[in-house]
Amino acid sequence: MARNPEVEQILEAWWQLDHIAPHERAKSEKQLNGLLDKVVVRGAQIYTREQILDYLWPQYRDYRLAKKKNEQVGVAQAALKK
């Protein structure tokens, strides 16, 4: 089942923060927080960024695993080309 596009955007921003080059991390964090704040505002600020991340955590674990698997496929394909 396809994910909600907004959830997908947040998961990608979260993944970027965890994996991007060190000198890009402050910028990456701002991007993630900006996306989370949109949800916080829509929820009349009843929920915090942390609660939204907690809600998304199981999906984020699946997202990371999928990314890792894709990365391994990419490495294998690159090795085959050599």
Binding site: A21, E29, V75
Partner: protein, 157 residues
């Protein structure tokens, strides 16, 4: 001398392999990295701004190695079994990051080759805090999760 991810020390060379982008990827034993970190921090003659940059570089390498280890655990279905070790190791990483950022704010930090700033270190530290909260901290109630889910579902036509 400054350590970077692209300048392997001889002791690490045995575990180095070529990455897909040409640079050397290192699997760095954490205890060796911690020994190096403690050694740098204990040197009396080193300028604090330089020491902070070196410690920052090593700490970022530790964080990257930690993320990689988490994902290898997920890939091999061993992640849940790793969680007992995950918690104290993550807490250590967070504590080291807190000390580093405190020191860098107090004494400054020279611009390292990897070009990261104190703000980048803080963002990295915050990402570790987020992992700690999500994996080991208090969980949302089922009701809260249902209500947050509705915030996202509300976007669907």
């Amino acid at each position: 001398m400054t350590l970077t991810a692209d300048s392997p020390r001889p002791i690490f060379r045995e575990t180095a392999r070529r990455g897909t982008e040409g640079s050397v990827e290192l699997k760095i034993p954490v205890d060796r990295l911690e020994t190096a970190l403690n050694w740098v921090m204990s040197q009396p003659g080193i300028a604090p701004e330089l020491s902070n940059a070196i410690v920052g570089t090593l700490w970022l390498m530790q964080v990257d190695a930690f993320r990689q280890q988490e994902e290898e655990g997920m890939l091999s279905n061993k992640y849940d079994a790793m969680l007992n070790d995950h918690r104290p190791f993550l807490a250590d990483l967070i504590a080291n990051g807190e000390t580093l950022i405190w020191a860098a704010k107090k004494s400054g930090m020279v611009s390292p080759p990897l070009k990261f700033t104190i703000e980048d270190l803080e963002a990295t530290l915050n990402s570790l805090h987020a992992t700690f909260r999500a994996e080991h901290g208090p969980k949302n109630s089922q009701k809260t999760n249902e209500l947050i889910a509705q915030l996202f579902d509300g976007q669907k036509p």
